[in-house]
Amino acid sequence: MIPQLVTVRYRLRDGRFRRWWIPVVPVVLLLSPLLLLAVVGGVIACLIFKISPLGALAGVGRVMWAMPGARFEIVEGRTAFLVSVR
């Protein structure tokens, strides 16, 4: 399953936390024109570096599909940052 929701949380200077919930599918749809350009750029890069574009696309797809469940959290002194993919 592709990621549905990305949560980003970080601590502000005053000690409070700010949290962002990013719904992946609507954001991807919104950015789809840019995404199309990125895909075209990627295909050209694959051809230049003699990599199979289909293989590269499949590889990126596999990584995307495997993302849900990933979580990265770091707290150091006053800095706190969390990224969670669901």
Binding site: F49, K50, I51, S52, G55, A56, G59, R62, V63, W65, A66, M67, P68, G69, A70, R71, F72, E73, I74, V75, E76, G77, R78
Partner: protein
């Protein structure tokens, strides 16, 4: 008929237990194989995530914590991407590795080997305990 059932019926025939007790014992014997399969220990659930937890109190500005959870599927997908590295890049990477004292031929690294490596992570547990630092790497 297994030995336990035979013994229960024997005790009932000898009037050592009542019919109710025999019935309860028989149902307990019937449930037993489902609860604990003979010869099989508790089955360990397959690990899905690699966890890295670091807790350090060395920093004077406050304790530091790192908590990372990576799906093993993501590791597998990542290592499969190595098959897309162009041969020119592999040759250059091999040369750089050799220069740094690591004579490894990356072209010999097959996705199957990397898959085996990720599978073996399932059993990995690293625990570092220090009075001010604690590091844990494990799969769950």
């Amino acid at each position: 008929m297994n030995e336990q059932r035979r013994q229960i019926l024997q005790m009932l025939a000898e009037n050592k237990i009542t019919a109710d007790e025999a019935e309860r014992l028989l149902s307990a014997v019937e449930r037993e194989p489902a609860d604990a399969p003979a010869g099989a220990g508790p089955r360990k659930a397959k690990a899905r995530y690699l966890r890295v937890i670091v807790h350090s109190e060395e920093d004077p500005s406050g304790p530091s914590q790192v908590n990372v959870r990576v799906p093993l599927k993501l590791l597998r997908a990542g290592v499969r991407l190595t098959s897309l590295i162009p041969p020119v890049a592999i040759t250059r990477a091999n040369a750089e590795l050799e220069k740094a004292g690591f004579p490894i031929d990356l072209s010999e690294l097959k996705p199957q080997h990397l898959d085996d490596l990720v599978e073996a992570l399932d059993e990995l547990t690293v625990d570092v305990d220090d009075p001010r630092n604690k590091v844990q790497v494990f799969c769950e």
